[in-house]
Every structure is written in structure tokens, then in C-alpha cells.
Symmetry: C2
Subunit: 354 residues, 2 copies
């Protein structure tokens, strides 16, 4: 059975209807629908509609507040701290990004952190929110499950704590880096297990520090940080900046949202926005970014390498391709979504109007 | 022959005298002396007095301006861009850090970039400048020689572009991460070559992408980025934020300061400072950092691991140890420094008063 292809607007409306049925106000439901569908549109399929069933489970278990009062609780000229009131993370970080852009326009740079937020989907979505304003966005988050011990340790005290950075270009696609501080994200391990494949060496280690290759045994080991102790350091720093600084969960306080649907996660995130026009002519900056992109792409290549990629080019290509051809929904996922539609009394995805 | 041990003040004065003899004004010479000696004090011995002979060569060749007019050329409430006028990088980044702290106090966060700066020693020195103010420091720099191609490429278009972050704690040592975006810094390769040792697999690859183990053949290969394409992405982003955004050199425009002593390097760096007191009670923040440090250290350990380290603990221990016992100067380095003292007509290191 082949994948169903759905237009982005259809997927967006389906998610919006589901969120409204779960009790979110119409504007909140539409915001979450738009951002989750955008995740799928750019190929971040581990963070898009695939999350709707677990989000629904969490909302129905009372683990997420569907009527949050999201508000700024600390503020200076170039920063703010937002309390998400345990609302959907997408809502909290959309508000954070909008505020950071506004403050960066005045101050040159701004930083907005969150506490009592929740999982917000792919990091790059929020870093990208600076791009329409010709600004640079940086995003940091505490992951919602610990999969990483400190370097040399056995207790899983750290998450894959991602970093995303989006930098506008002129004629080239924007540069968008979106990376976990581990060699592989945990979603990739789950995908290997589903497909019955072994993992390459380097993704995970067991409790003796030896390579772990069978993804079905993933509970017996840990993700490995990039660059060994360096990735451990990066994950720790991201956790302190996005979590501890905001009074959000970090370390032992992080709950595993795969296993616990009702506890408040107190997720912390942070977004920083830099306005290049504060540094000089913004057009000149974007031209220089184009130049760097072309230098990288124009490099002589190793044997067997067809093309040199710049971060963000592949997801940009997905946006174009899926925008034209629709977003692929695999049969197993569609079955889950159909069951959810029955449960929530909303039209099935293929019957959703757009 | 064993290492000479010199008090930090003696090393500082020796460097200060040398810089003054090279033509720097007294206050500039003292600032460079203090920062270079501090690098050695914390064990960053690849970035301390070992750099005095190459710095001197560069200054004498006219590659560095000894009487720079370092000034702010762009400014908003929370940002500034400093033109270093091709002065020593230490001077430029000290001024940048002081300004960033002042702006962060008012705005909650600040970001100061540099152009026409030069090599400034270890990244951590500048991130650490936020610590006495109970603030968080982040530092990014474009390295002064390209050792890294884009992922899959052969042209060395990127440097080890380091990241440093310093976070204050209460009773624990501050957390200080200072890392190149490559598995090994190039200085470590040079050290292996000097000692006649082979490199471990993973540090470098040759032009076919195969592991390169002989450091004497380092010119035939490249440093490897941490986490493969992720480290390439990080190095690129750091270069864009610390270089391109500031109108400083990046990519092909970066000159190799090991091979070219006279061209203006147009080095770019950036420092960001965050004031935790903008986010709530700063004492509470530092207590929470202590708590996270202790969680990491208290983790159960892998077989054979004696202790779990938090980034910055080892350099903090060096600061205490070398503060008490003096800074070790290896015989080969001392010989170079003695020859330099004769050339510059300053007292030799061991004869320097303090």
C-alpha cells in the first residue's frame, strides 16, 4: 500500500480540527495545526502529525493545559521570560519568537526563554521565524526525555537538547541548521527498530561503553553525544540555557513524556534573534551569505560525493516538492489518524476540507 | 631537563615587557600580558606564552597594528560592532566583553561582534569575563587558518571555529565549555607531531576520506568535524555569526596566519552576555547550577571511570595548582623565549621582576 499524499492545507485543517475537538480555543488550534503541518511540509516527519496521537493522549490525560494563560513574567529591553502555563509548546514558542523579533528590531538582539512550556516540534520551525524579517534566529530546547548520561556515566541525566540556527540569504535558500547534540536523534533509533534494521556503530553504546547495534535493545544503552565529551558539554550547556536559566526542568527533573502522560513537563526553551541591519547594510549581509553558500557548494569533492549540501537545503527542497506533490502519509500512520478522528469525532484526514 | 616553574606575575610581566618593546602602549601591553599569562595559568598552554614568538613575528612583519584605534562603529541598545583596527585580538575582545557586560546589565542580554581583530588566545578567557558579574558569557570566533572542508568536500574553507560558554555557579566551580567544532584542535596535531606519536583514528581524514594517523602527514588531510556533518554545520554557523555578520573574514577570505605574517587577517569574533538576574533571583539560579553539577558528578559511573567531570573543572583545578606551584615552561619553549628576550632587549623570563 502506498503513501497517501495530502495537500499541506488539508493536513493543517485536519490537525486544527483535532486540536479544537481536544478543547483548544480556535486561534490556538489553528496555530498548532499550522506549525505541525509545516513540520511535515519540510520533511521533519518525526515531529509533525506523527505526534498528534501522543499529544492527544497527553491532553486527554490532563497533562497539557488546553486553555493556557501564556504570559511574560520577567522582562528587560532585550529579553523576556514567558510562563507557558503548561500549554502546547507550539503556542508558547510562537509567542516567544514574535516577541524576540520585536525586541531585536529595537535592540539589535533579543533573547526570550520559556518555562512551563511543552514539546514544540522541530527546533528549526522557531529559528526560521526570524527569516521573514531578514533576521537570524537561534533556538535551544530541553528535550522531553533523557537519553544521555554525562560523559563516563550511566545515569540518563541529559536529553538530546537540540540547537537550531536560521540565517537569511538573498538568492540562495536560507541556511538552517537543526541538530540534536547526540549522533542520532532518538526518533531515528525508533525508526530503525520499526523497520527491523540494525543501527550503525556510533549511534548508541551499552552500559560498558561498547557499541550497541540492535535498536530493539535501545533501553539497555544510551545515545552517544557528538564528539564524545564535547557533545556532552553542549547538551549540558543547552540544558542550562534553555532549562535551568528559565526555572524549567533539567537533569533529574525532566520527565519522560513517552512514559508519563499526566505530569506537568515544565519544558524550557529559548529563542534568540539577531537583526543583521544593526551590523550594517542587511542586503550586503545576505549577499555575503550567498557567497559563502556558493563557496561551500563549489568545493572540490571527495570521490563518490555527488553534491555538497549546506544545512537547510534539503528541507527547503522538501518544502517545494511536498508543496507541489502533497505530503506523504504512510499507511500505518494514516490508520492511527483515522482511529483518532473517530475518537475525536472529526472528519478523517482524507475527508477534511481545505 | 625539567620544566621551569614561574609565578603567574612573572610570566605576565615578561609578556608585558615584550609587548611594550614591540611597540604597544603600556596599557595595551599590560592587557595582553595579563590575558596571555592567564591562558597558561588555566592550562590552555597552546594559547598562552607559546604564541609570543609567532605574535612577535607578525608584529615585526607589520601584520598587526601596535597603536590601534579600537572603536564601536555600529551600536544599538543591546549590541555593538567593534572595529579592532587590526590591533591584537586580546585588546579588541577585552573591550567587547566589557561593553557586552554593561549592555547586558541594562537590557538582559547583549551581543558585541568584532571585525579587523586578530587571534585572541583561548575562547574561554572571554566567555569567563562575564563570571565576576554573575553573568553568563558566550564566545564565538573564526579561527585563523582553515583546516576543514565542507562535509564531502576537499577544499579547506572552514576553520576550527571555537565556541566557549561560561556559566556561574555558587559553591561549585563555574561551568566553562571551550571547544573547537573539530574532534581535535590543530594544536593537538602539532603536539603529536612534536612528540613523534601517531594520532588516534577520528582526528583527521585524508583526501579519500580514510583515517589519517601520522601527524607528520597532516598537510595531506583535514581535521574531522564533531558528529560528521553536524560539526561542519556548527563550524559554518559560528563562522557566519562571528565573521560574515561582522564583515570579517570567513571562508576563502581567511588567511593562514601560520604561513602569512604580513596580511591583515580581518579576524571576526563575537561575545554574548546574559544577565541571569533578568530571569529571576540570581542566587537561586547559581544554586540550581550547583545542583546540576552535583547531579552530573553523582551519576553512577562506567567500569574504569574514576570521576565524572563537568566542563571547566579541570582548568579551574589548574588555576589553583599553577597559582600555588607556578606555571611550567618546557625547556624548548624557554629557549625560544630567551632568544626573543635578547632580540627585543628585555630581561629573560627567569630574570623578570614581579
Amino acid at each position: 500500500m502506498s503513501d497517501l499524499r495530502v495537500p499541506e492545507a488539508q493536513l493543517r485543517n485536519y490537525i486544527t480540527h483535532s486540536m479544537a475537538a481536544l478543547g483548544l480555543p480556535p486561534d490556538h488550534a489553528a496555530c498548532v495545526g499550522q506549525l505541525m503541518a509545516e513540520a511535515d511540509l519540510q520533511g521533519s516527519d518525526g515531529h509533525g502529525v506523527i505526534r498528534l496521537p501522543p499529544y492527544s493522549r497527553r491532553i486527554l490525560a490532563g497533562g497539557v493545559n488546553v486553555r493556557p494563560d501564556i504570559k511574560v513574567i520577567e522582562e528587560r529591553a532585550a529579553m523576556a521570560l514567558i510562563d507557558g502555563d503548561n500549554g502546547m509548546g507550539h503556542l508558547v514558542m510562537k509567542q516567544a519568537a514574535d516577541l524576540a523579533v520585536e525586541k531585536a528590531r529595537r535592540c539589535g538582539i533579543a533573547w526570550v526563554g520559556s518555562r512551563f512550556s511543552n514539546h514544540a516540534g522541530p527546533a528549526s520551525l522557531y529559528a526560521r521565524m526570524a527569516l521573514p524579517h531578514d533576521m537570524i534566529g537561534l533556538y535551544f530546547a530541553v528535550g522531553n526525555a533523557n537519553h544521555l548520561p554525562p560523559w563516563g556515566g550511566l545515569d540518563m541525566l541529559l536529553s538530546t537538547n537540540p540547537i537550531a540556527v536560521a540565517i537569511p540569504a538573498l538568492q540562495e535558500a536560507p541556511i538552517v541548521l537543526d541538530m540534536a547534540t547526540t549522533v542520532a536523534a532518538y526518533g531515528k533509533v525508533k525508526a530503525k527498530a520499526q523497520r527491523g534494521e540494525m543501527m550503525p556503530e556510533g549511534w548508541m553504546i551499552d552500559r560498558e561503553g561498547k557499541p550497541l547495534l540492535d535498536p530493539k535493545r535501545s533501553e539497555e544503552g544510551f545515545l552517544t553525544p557528538i564528539g564524545g565529551y564535547k557533545g556532552y558539554g553542549l547538551s549540558l550547556i543547552v540544558g542550562l540555557l534553555a532549562g535551568t536559566l528559565n526555572g524549567a526542568a533539567m537533569g533529574k527533573a525532566v520527565i519522560d513524556f513517552n512514559k508519563d502522560s499526566h505530569s506537568v513537563s515544565n519544558t524550557g526553551q529559548a529563542i534568540a534573534v539577531i537583526d543583521p541591519s544593526a551590523f550594517g547594510d542587511p542586503l550586503l549581509f545576505k549577499q555575503r551569505v550567498d557567497g559563502i553558500v556558493r563557496e561551500m557548494r563549489g568545493s572540490e569533492r571527495m570521490p563518490g560525493v555527488d553534491r555538497i549540501w549546506v544545512p537547510g537545503e534539503q528541507s527547503q527542497a522538501k518544502r517545494v516538492q511536498y508543496g507541489e506533490q502533497g505530503i506523504p502519509i504512510p499507511p500505518a500512520l494514516l490508520q492511527q489518524l483515522d482511529a483518532l478522528a473517530v475518537q475525536l469525532k472529526v472528519p478523517a484526514l482524507r475527508d477534511t476540507r481545505f
